[in-house]
Structure formats: C-alpha cells, structure tokens
Amino acid sequence: MRSFSYAAPTTIEQAVSLLEVEGSEVLAGGTDLLSLLKDDVERVERLVSLRGVEDLSGIDASGGRLRIGAMTTLQDLRDHAGATEAVPALVTAIDGVASAQLRAMGTVGGDLLQRPRCWYYRRGYGLLALGRDGGSMIAEGDNRYHAIFPDGHARFVSPSSLAPLLVALGAEATVRGPDGERRVPVEALYRAPQAEGERENTLGRGELLVEVTAAVSGVRSAVYEVRQRRSLDWPLMAAAVSLTGEGPRVDQARIVLGHAAPIPWLAVAAGEVAAGGELTPARIEEAAEKAASGARPMSGNRFKVQLARTATRRALGLAAGMEA
C-alpha cells in the first residue's frame, strides 16, 4: 500500500483547511476507500478522517423536517424511530445495504459519495475505461451491470443506496468549503465526468458534505430495488418515488432511478405523468413506461430497461399503498 499521511481534525474548519491541500481525501466509514487504496485503484497523499469532527453526525426529525449529519452511520439512521417514522422508505434503502458490518461502519455521507462499482474502474482502467484507441472498453466489453442512461463516456452507474430516495424527497445537501457554506439539491452533488480524472461529484477542493435535510411532512415515499441475491448483493436497478397531495390525489411526484445512470436518474417526465390526479394502475403503468423511455442500453444490459419499468411501477405502487 502506498504511503499517505493521516489527519484527524476535530472541527469542520480544520477539516476544510486540511482538505484544501491537493491529494487530500475524506475518510468517513472507510468501508471502501481503504480497499481502493490497497488495490492501487486510487492514490492519496493524505486521508482526512472525519470520525472526530464534532457536529457531523446526528439526526433531527422534528418540525416536519429531517436533518441527517453526514457522518451518521447507516445503522444509526436505521435505528432512529423519528427518522424512519417520517420516511419509512429509509428502512428499505438501508436494509438493502448488506452486510450488518457495512451498515455499522458506513456513513450517510459515505453512501452518497461512494465511488462506482464498475468492474473496469475497479481493475484500474479508469472511471471512463477508455482504451488505448480512445474507444469505450465498457461499450465494447461486458456491460451487463452498467448504465442504460449513459452520458457521453460516463457509462458506470451511481451506486448510492440513499441518493435516489433523498433526491426523490427533494432533499438538500449542505456543503462547507473554503468559501463558506452552500446548500444545493442533493442531485446537484452529482455529475457525469467526461474526461478521465474528473470526479463523479461536484464538490470542489476543500469542500465536504456536512448534512442533508428534507421536508418530509405529508410526503409518501417508497423504494423498490431489484436484487438477484437476497444476501450480499448490489441492486440491478432501484427506484425511489415521493408523492405529495391530499388523500389518493397526487399533486407532485418525483421518480428517481438508481443503478441506471452515472448519476441518480431523476425521471422528470415520469413524475409529471404520475402527478395531477389519482394514481391509478393505468397511470402507474404509464409513468413506469415513461421512466424507462429514452434509455440507451448497450450490448449486454437491455434487460435493465425492463427492470427500470418494473422498479418504478412497484415503487409507485408501494408509495400509493397498493400491492407491489
């Protein structure tokens, strides 16, 4: 393992100034970054552990809002009665993170900003996996688990378990950096890189994710993940939905796919189809169809288009209180 220095700040300000130095990287739960370093897929000059930083963990679920500190562990969030009462779909999303060890060590911020699982990236060919001739190894190779909504050269999928749900809820992320604090929609944390070496998130140098907040009052939400194995497996496709409106009426709907694109895939048009009336099976079917429309699958992942439709339909059904 290549050498690196290790810093353990105790305040956000210290963490920010440490992260401003090039080659510094946040260490949160450490469940994945250390493996990437051991495998020499990523290199760092300095790890900045956030474990000892005050004010980065904790959950507040009062006043119709949910606030989750970035260093909150997934298990602590899972066990927080106020949070899971306000957003029951959190349970589904977190229980999908296997194993218990990962839930105990992994953090909310780490889940949101974790690196992709693309098997070309993980074997050292880079996030975009462009071959020597500049062609896409992913497009020419085995892409069964890759994006059906690729964006230019970005063909990996965003692996976060919480991001689709938080984006569906319209959650905001609080980011601290050298220039102070900014608040952005969670979806604005993500981007599809177009050059090797670019990251898949929008945090600038010295910036760190502090917390996420969401208005959760009167919102019905659900997550449905298609997983091949019951034990220890990534979803093949995930869908998160949130619905607002009185009674059976849906005024607004947000539908987000996970494991479908390099970013959490906000299917705006599908949400529009689902909103504006009662959520009938026919309307659900139409929204599910819309969520998968425009997909551009590659040689080996056409089946994921069907999974996107199914996951959307079932998530909408769950949120509307119907049989999945």
């Binding site: 298609v226 091949q228 992942n301 089946f303």
Partner: protein, 709 residues
C-alpha cells in the same frame, strides 16, 4: 485370516449413528489451525506479480527497484524475457519480504514490458474460435432413421459457462527448510502424494519432504498438486533461508486456481408414441481454458439410449486450465441431458417423472431410480403441486417444479493405515489421508470405535501427515470407502491379536470373544469377560500394531449410486429473478457410517448446486481477456438466504447396507442445475437455455417467446 465385514444392523454400535463431527468445536471457535494459520518464527510473506493480459509476450523486465526495497528478501523471476503468457493472472515474478505489505509494494515496483497478442475468451461463440479442435463423430444404431420415424422431436442449443472453484481458503502453503529437509503446511487434497511431487520439482529425495494438513479450507477437486506457487514458495524459502507463507490473493484464486469447463451443445432428442426415447444427436463444445475440454458423458444416465450420434469440439481459450470440479463433467452432462428430456416430456404432454420412469430401463439402475423417484415425489408433494408448463402470464410470480436424476461411482481408493493398541487400552490409527471438510476424521474414528467396542472419545485418529501410511488423494468420492475399509481391516487384525492374548485368561477360544460396550467377553456370556483396559493389558509391554489396506479381502465397499432431486422455484416474470424455494434430494450411497455427515454432504451439494444454477460464472472480458468478476462481489456465491428449504432423504436398509461403503461427495452436486432449470421452465413455460439462470437470461427467454421484455 479374519472375516472382514461390517456388523449386521442389530450389532452396530457406531455405524449408522449421527455423531457430530469431532473437529466441529475447534473449527467453529477458530482454534483449528489451517495451513494458512501457520506462523513459524521468522516467517516471510510472499506475493506474486501476475500478467494482466490474456495473451502476451514478455519483452523485458526491471526488478531492481523491488530488490532495493528495505524488507525485501528475495525476488524470484518465474517467467522471464521471451516467455509467452497464455492467460491473464499467470505468474511472472514472486517476492518474499518481511511483511505482506512490503511484498505487495515490491511486486508493484516491478516493471514488465509486454507485447500484447490476440486473445480469445468467449467460447460460446464457437464459430469465432481461432483454434477449435473438432473431434470425430461417433454413431451408434441409425439415428437418421430413428429421428425420421419418431413421434416427437425437440431440438435446441443449451449451455453453461466456465466457473470457479472459489475455495474459501485460497491455494497455498507455508514452506520451511531445516537444512535440506523441507516441511510444507499445504492446503491440499493429497497429503500422501504431494511430497514426492515437491521433491521431484525441487531436486531433492522424496524422503526429505514432510507434508502436513491437519485441516484445509476447501478444494472441490482443485488441490491435488503443489502447483507453481507451491514450488515457488519452497524456492523462495530456500533462497531466503527462512519460512515463507504464500497463499493466493482472491483475484488469483478465482482466476487461475481452479475452474470447471463450460459445456454447450446443439441437441436433438426423440421419443416414440409410448414416450420411449428412440434417438439422440448432440453437437457439443466447450472450453476448460487453454487445453480446451473433452466430451461430457452424453446422453447422461440414459446411457443405453439407442440410435445416437455424438460430435464434440474442444475449444481452447486464453484462460487458465480447468481442474476437476466436484463430479467432473457430470453437472454439465446432467443439465444438457435432463433439460432436453424435460422439454421432450413437455412436447409429449407427459409428466416428467412419468417420462423418466418409462425410460428407466435405459439406465443401469432402474430399480433404485424408481424407488427414489417415488420417495422424492412424495416429499415434494409432486402430485398436488406439479402442473404442466404454464403458457399464461397471469401474475408476476410463477411457481414451478423440476426433476433430475444422476449417478456416480464412488469406489474407495487405495488406502493404508496402521492401527495400534497400547497396553493401557489407548487405540490410535495413523493414516496418510486428509479431512477436506467432509468429516473423514470422524468417520474413521467411528470405524475404530465400532471395531473395538469403544466410544468415540476413546480412540484417536491421526491424519494429515505424509509420514503416516500412504492413503489416496481425496477426489471422486473415493475417500470414505478407502479409509473406512483400510481402518476396518487393520482394526479387526489388531483386535484379533488382543483377543488371542485374552482368550486363555477367559478359558475361551478367540473366535468366541466379542468387544463391545467397553468390554471384552465371551459372546452370549457377558459376565465372562473383562474391561477393555484389562484386556489390552494382556498384550504385555509393547503395543500391538496392524497394517490395514484397501483394496483388500472382504466385502466392505462398492461403487455406483443413483440420486433424484426435485426443485421448486418462484420466478418473478417482470424482473427475471429466480428464487429457489425448496430442494428435495433422495440419495443412496451404500452403507452409511455417519448419517449426519452424509446428510451434510448432500446439503453442501445442494447449496453449491443452487450457486451454479443461479449465480456462478466466470465473466471474461472480451476486450482485455481478464476476468471481470475475480472477486467476491460480482462472482456471486449463494448465501444462506438464497438456498431455500433443503430436504434430504438417505436410502438405507438391508439392500443398501449390504453393498458396503460408497462415496458421496460428488453425487448431490450433479442434479441441481438441471432440476432448477427444469423448475424454471415449468414455472414460466419456456426453457432458459443457459445457466446460470440470471435475470437477463430469464427475461431474454421470455422475450424470445413473445412475452413481456
């Protein structure tokens, strides 16, 4: 000469009982020291630099940076300049260093220049293979005429990919020299033969190699030789003058340390109006890496099927060569055959069990299969639960049942052992065998205890050392027959010597004496006897010892078994996800020594079977030729939540017991792929032609049938 035999049912003390495995507590508490747990003083760690290309020539190499790193003790070039590499993951340079981290860093500091050459890794596309080797055609009877006059014919292409052994303890060893004597703690299935192989590679006499394997963490057919990393590990230790631990990293374990050949086939099979099989035509191909692979035994089980034509093409790929995988060739042949027959039964509008039953005279064991099919059907509730294949898609979740039958030999291998009775009554067997996790240690102890009329804790089994009498490698379900027979013979002989000394004291003939319940006594007069320690004391100051052998006199073992399995699955028609809800297994294996361990073998076979039916496959990258899933993240093993309810029935009773002991490791892993595939076809109304039954393959099959996706 003694009459070597197993006791009758009413006279058995140990045999047929269900004792827990003797090493269960040390294994489950972590006290068992596996070869990879050995840490002798001064131990060095070794790592291997492997080639990232599937086909390449080494143009040059620079190792000086690695050699100069503090803590690096030896840099050993395995394949130097000019070498042609034929698969990704092949070993190039090894490093021994003071810590594993240093060894890893040193490996990373080695620069190798490659000329990358063309590769081929996707043998399902036989037409694209650069070096396919078609074999000659074999014809029996008149298949063309039989097909022409047949009542029903089905024809399709089926297949299953190459997959890994995935031993949880990777391949490797700890090698230590004392002068020119080598001791190796090896994770091996072949304690008695490994030393000679090390010796000849290292150029030392076989007498100077000691092999130790007290426990080992899985082999499944992939751990019979020292392998290149074994010899390299010993060389590193010799050069460094210190013990060296070299176990493969997980990506190497998956990529190069064991795989099962793929099998694909275009198959035509036909039946007459009575539902009798009348013709078979298969054009098969497959790959076991660079060496290609041979013909699987088709048609499987129904080996007397008339009018056959078989062709086979061996397809070399730029992948590491395959190794024996639990029941070599049988799971492939079973899937290809039983899936074809299942589709033919559907074409004939016959219940598949009825169809198999009508053709059992084409097998070698009709009576056993018939009895087992009846029991399995009863256990699975076949009569109430089985329905003809559904063509409707009325709901998202569809259930189905499938059946398969299989066979295996399982004759005991060559085995020697020494049984010693000490004057204090202590009894020990020394046997150069190994317990690869199947329970060999426990079964041997039961045979000893049975023979001497003692309890398990009163006997000692010493194995896993090549200084003990040579006993065969553990492969092909041959161990239990070999070690139980040699142990029984030695134990009967040793006991005979004790009885000969005791007889005068009891004023009886030795033949009248019996050892049971911790005593030796005149049969029929329990009071005319003495305790076992008193009896043993009669032998005087020196222990009594006897050598047992297999093969040998007396009918202790046999071979040839049949088994039936039924799978029940649930398929999500909208996602293609398959859940195994239930597996029923009915199996014979002659005389069962330990019921619990026998059932465990079947449970293990079913779990492994669910794995290769639903999840496991090598995924070689068409672009680079490397495996994309040489890890435990995307090389998916079945977890406990994936295997469903497993129900096992062992065939026992006089007709089975009288055959003697037969091996059981392989048979239960043969049928799951076929039974589960047949259950999925039954559930969704269409054959998914390839294993594993992943969602994409299931949805593809449904789409091809004009359905949803």
């Amino acid at each position: 000469m003694a009459d070597y035999s197993w006791p009758e049912a009413d006279r058995r003390g140990q045999i047929g009982r269900r004792p827990a495995r003797l090493d269960g507590p040390v294994k489950s508490t972590g006290f068992a020291r596996y070869p990879s747990d050995q840490n002798p003083p001064g131990l060095l760690a070794a790592k291997i630099l492997t080639c990232p290309h599937a086909h390449a020539r080494i143009l040059g190499m620079e190792t000086s940076a690695a050699e100069a790193m503090p803590g690096v003790r030896v840099v050993h070039v395995i394949q130097g300049e000019g070498s042609e590499i034929q698969w990704a993951g092949d070993e190039v340079v090894a490093v021994a260093a003071e810590t594993e981290d240093i060894a890893r860093d040193a490996v990373r500091a080695i620069q190798v220049e490659y000329e990358v050459l063309p590769h081929f890794v996707t043998e399902e596309h036989r037409d694209r293979a650069p070096a396919a080797q078609p074999g000659s055609e074999r014809t029996d009877g008149d298949p063309d005429a039989a097909f022409a006059s047949a009542h029903r014919v089905v024809e399709q292409t089926l297949g299953m990919p190459q997959m890994a052994h995935m031993c949880l303890e990777p391949h490797g060893q700890v090698a230590a020299w004392d002068g020119d004597e080598l001791e190796v703690h090896a994770s091996t299935q072949a304690v008695s033969t490994l030393g000679g192989q090390f010796a000849s590679e290292l150029g030392i006499p076989a007498t100077q190699v000691r092999i130790r394997t007290e426990y080992m963490g899985g082999g499944f057919g992939s751990k019979f030789s020292p392998d290149r990393w074994g010899i390299v590990g010993a060389e590193l230790a010799r050069k460094a003058g210190a013990p060296v631990k070299l176990f493969l990293d997980r990506d190497q374990e998956v990529s190069v340390a064991g795989s099962r050949p793929s099998a694909f086939a275009r198959i035509r099979v036909a039946a007459d109006e009575q539902g009798k099989l009348v013709a078979w035509d298969s054009d098969s191909w497959g790959s076991g890496g660079l060496p290609g692979t041979g013909q699987t035994p088709l048609p499987y089980v129904f080996s007397r099927l008339p009018n056959r034509r078989l062709r086979h093409t061996s397809v070399p790929t730029n992948l590491a060569g395959s190794r024996a995988w639990r029941a070599p060739n049988h799971p492939q042949a079973c899937f290809l055959t039983m899936a074809s027959l299942d589709d033919l039964a559907d074409e004939l509008d016959l219940d598949p069990i009825d169809f198999l039953d009508r053709n059992l005279d084409l097998t070698g064991r009709a009576d056993v299969y018939r009895e087992e099919l009846g029991i399995a059907a009863e256990m699975a509730g076949w009569e109430e639960r089985w329905q003809p294949r559904k063509r409707s898609r009325d709901s998202a979740l569809q259930r189905g049942l499938g059946v398969s039958i299989h066979t295996w030999g399982g004759r005991g291998h060559s085995s020697n052992c020494d049984v010693t009775v000490h004057p204090d009554g202590a009894v020990e067997v020394r046997i150069g065998s190994q317990d690869i996790g199947t329970g060999t240690r426990t079964v041997v102890a039961q045979v000893l205890a049975e023979t001497f009329g003692l309890e398990l804790h009163q006997v000692r089994v010493s194995l896993g050392d090549n200084r003990f009498p040579q006993s065969g490698p553990s492969g092909g379900s041959s161990t239990v027959g070999g070690v139980s027979a040699s142990t029984r013979r030695a134990a009967q002989d040793a006991l005979g010597e004790v009885l000969a000394r005791v007889a005068p004291r009891l004023e009886a003939e030795p033949e009248q004496l019996k050892a049971a319940g911790g005593r030796v006594f005149v049969e029929g007069e329990p009071s005319r006897g003495m305790s076992w320690p008193e009896a043993a004391a009669q032998i005087g100051g020196a222990p009594v010892s006897a050598r047992g052998r297999n093969p040998g006199p007396g009918r202790l073992i046999s071979s040839g078994v049949g088994g039936v399995q039924i799978a029940e699955v649930e398929v999500d028609m909208d996602t293609g996800v398959v859940r195994v809800e239930r597996m029923v297994a009915v199996q014979d294996c002659g005389l069962i020594i330990n019921r619990r361990l026998a059932e465990s073998q079947v449970y293990g076979g079913l779990i492994m079977g669910v794995g290769y039916a639903l999840f496991e496959e090598w995924i070689p990258d068409p672009v680079t030729g490397r495996l994309l899933n040489a890890d435990m993240e995307f090389y998916k093993l079945a977890g406990l939540m994936d295997v469903g309810s497993l129900e096992v029935h062992m065939m026992t009773g006089p007709a089975y017991d009288e055959r003697g002991v037969i091996g059981l490791g392989e048979p239960p892993v043969i049928s799951p792929g076929a039974a589960i595939s047949n259950a999925v076809a039954n559930a969704i109304g269409v054959r998914v032609p390839y294993l594993p039954l992943t969602p994409d393959r299931v949805l593809d099959a449904l789409a091809a049938d004009g359905g949803v996706a």
